[in-house]
């Protein structure tokens, strides 16, 4: 029982991170119809920037404080992601307006390759650390109830907490602010939105900035856990099934999908894994999403597709 709960919590907590990445996907897709494959590369670049600047800045300015270093590094990294967002909109999206979804997908594939190269080219390809003082040691809850207690990794817990906060903040932002409304308008109908004077390009820049921010936060969380390294780029691949399950156009979908996938893959690995030799979680999430698609092609909360002739 205790073990089941542990697995479940473990799943929920990584699920929260998937939700965060997933949110990045959904926002961009809603606003611009782009399925942003480069999300992973953005995580990598953001994390690299964070890791390196938090070391470089103190060297340049000659101070010790880790906190200050982190804050400055975060600011710089965030700024960098915003510039990146702007450039992507300028150099790529703008020229691909009204292209087929798949074309856009391939374009983001290109972007992600470019960012992988650029990131390591500028920041180097060995492993760097991010230290934002996340608690590392485990915490055993309810030792009275379960023998050996109920293991909860404080690190994951904080990570999940941060992710949850950000997700919540974003959800509110897009529900209640003017930009949010504008975004939803754009999501519904580009032409209509434009005709009432909503500047498409600005909205795009904004969502890409937000996606960049998600990437940065996810990058910091993962980075401080695993160390920052090329591999982070692939970590985001694991968040793809999330958006498929949740529906590409639904923010709640991303969140719930994230949690489902998170739990699903952990439980599957722990309980099904041993039967078939283990290591199944990487594809289990995908197959889960795929099977689900067959019955509901637009995902849990996605909008139904009707083709008109």
């Amino acid at each position: 029982m205790a073990f089941f709960l542990e697995t479940l919590f473990g799943g929920l907590m990584s699920g929260m991170l998937y939700a965060l990445i997933g949110l990045g996907f959904v926002l961009i897709f809603k606003a611009s119809g782009v399925f942003n494959f480069a999300q992973g590369a953005m995580v990598l670049v953001a994390a690299l920037a964070m890791a390196r600047f938090s070391v470089w800045i103190p060297e340049w300015l000659g101070f010790e404080s880790l906190l200050l270093a982190n804050i400055l590094a975060f600011a710089v990294a965030a700024l960098m992601m915003f510039v990146l967002a702007w450039l992507i909109e300028r150099l790529v999206l703008r020229h691909l307006v009204n292209q087929e979804a798949t074309t856009l997908l391939m374009a983001t594939l290109g972007i992600s390759y470019f960012l992988d190269g650029l990131g390591q080219f500028t920041f180097g390809s060995s492993v760097y650390s991010i230290n934002v003082g996340m608690p590392k040691d485990p915490w055993f809850a309810f030792e009275s109830i379960f023998e050996g207690g109920l293991l909860i990794s404080l690190e994951d817990l904080t990570a999940a907490g941060v992710a949850a906060l950000l997700v919540l903040a974003l959800a509110l932002f897009f529900q209640f602010t003017g930009t949010g409304r504008a975004l939803r308008a754009v999501a519904d109908d580009h032409q209509a939105a434009q005709s009432v004077g909503i500047p498409l390009n600005r909205i795009w820049v904004i969502v890409w900035c937000v996606a960049g921010l998600c990437a940065l936060v996810a990058g910091i969380i993962w980075g401080s856990k695993f160390g920052v390294q090329f591999t982070l780029a692939t970590a985001a691949l694991r968040a793809l099934p999330v958006v498929i399950l949740g529906g590409l156009t639904s923010i709640p979908g991303a969140i719930i999908g994230g949690l489902i996938i998170g739990m699903g893959e952990k439980l599957s690995e722990v309980y099904l894994g041993p039967l078939v030799g283990g290591g199944i979680e990487i594809w289990f999430a995908y197959v889960l999403a795929l099977v689900f698609l067959l019955f509901r092609p637009q995902g849990l909360f996605g909008e139904k597709i009707i083709d008109r002739v």
Binding site: G10, S126, K136, Q229, T231, A235, G278
Partner: protein, 441 residues
Amino acid sequence: MKRAIRNVTAALAVAAGAMAAVPASVVAAEQFVPLLVYRTGSFAPLGIPWADGKLDYLKLVNARDGGVNGVKIVYEECETAYATDRSVECYERLKGQRGGASGFDSQSTGATFAISDKAIIDKIPVETMGYGLSQSVDGTVFEWNFPLLGTYWTAADVMIQDIAKKEGGADKLKGKKIALIYHDSPYGKEPIALLQRRAERDGFQLLQYPVTAPGVEQKSTWLQVRQQRPDYVLLWSAGIMTPTAIREAQAVGFAREKMYSIWWAGSEGDVRDLGQVAKGYNTVTIHNSAATGRVYEDLKKYVYDKNEGSDASGKSTLGTIAHTRGMMISMLQVEAIRTAQEKFGKGKHMTPEQVRWGFENLNLTAARLKELGFDEIMRPVKTSCNNHMGDDWARIAQWDGGAFKVVSDWYQADKSIVDPLVKEMAQRYAKEKNITPRTCG
């Protein structure tokens, strides 16, 4: 039409020439050493210091001794990114250059398989120090492979021996649970065969947990560890998988003292950022912990003081375990060339076949190692036609939060269990490849 053909062919010929760097006429008094490296990709953290080490020693030999008996060593790096097909491309590009490659250190188990196949045909030695195909110790079948100083089987065996010692005797292993958490690839699977034999004999239970590459997602693995509560964990990881494993171990409260990692997961780069978290983490090593020995003084004097070191900063990789191992690989390569020269003519360029002979007749006595400045780093090596490993001793080092300290004396791998396995697998390989084993005179 005719003219057209001629033109096109001509063009092609040019292209071929340009891109193929057609083997230049053998330049006397230089010896080519190809360097396959992975400075990028998931394993870069390990690959970089390793590559630096290999490069540094060659630079040292040229700077200090002006090559091998006056034969200058020329080298070229080729990036494999740990990918087999890239490795093959590198191999094909470099094997023929400058009078022939003196030997390939193929760097990844996958690439070793691919390159070994081709090396037989091209007659080029393959040096896989501390990795590669464990059965390739058998020189009768693997004429061209040299898994010097140790294989994953000897490593696994030594780990078990150390565990047995801690438990107070091999008989105490009975009923123990030992988990193998491995990188899901040929590299990670290599030790399984031996561990199963051991488990049968010593009566411990072997739990296997594959981790899908690149290995950032291990939560469920370690949850199972927490559930199964193994007494020890053997870690066959690489790159980012290692720190992740240690973190997860901490997260589930598994004692780092009870973790044993293969040497590729036992370098400073793997644990430095973890500091105290990794305290007590054990690794098996085929050489002493780094930065000791005269060779490093020389390296500083002849290379780094002239700012010719591969590690620009002189801090990040220089002297790490992986770097030292790189140096050893190059050293053995150079010694193989030297040995060959003693038979086939000092100061001459050696063909790959001649170097192969050198590899097969290495004899680095303690005295010789002292001259080379490796005496504090490694044990004597003596290869033969039958035995291409040369030395199967290893020891355990432990991370004390700041550095790896050697905590055990040398163990020799248990021949009674390794050798039969080598023979068996070698035979099987020979059969698959229909190779007829040669007989050693």
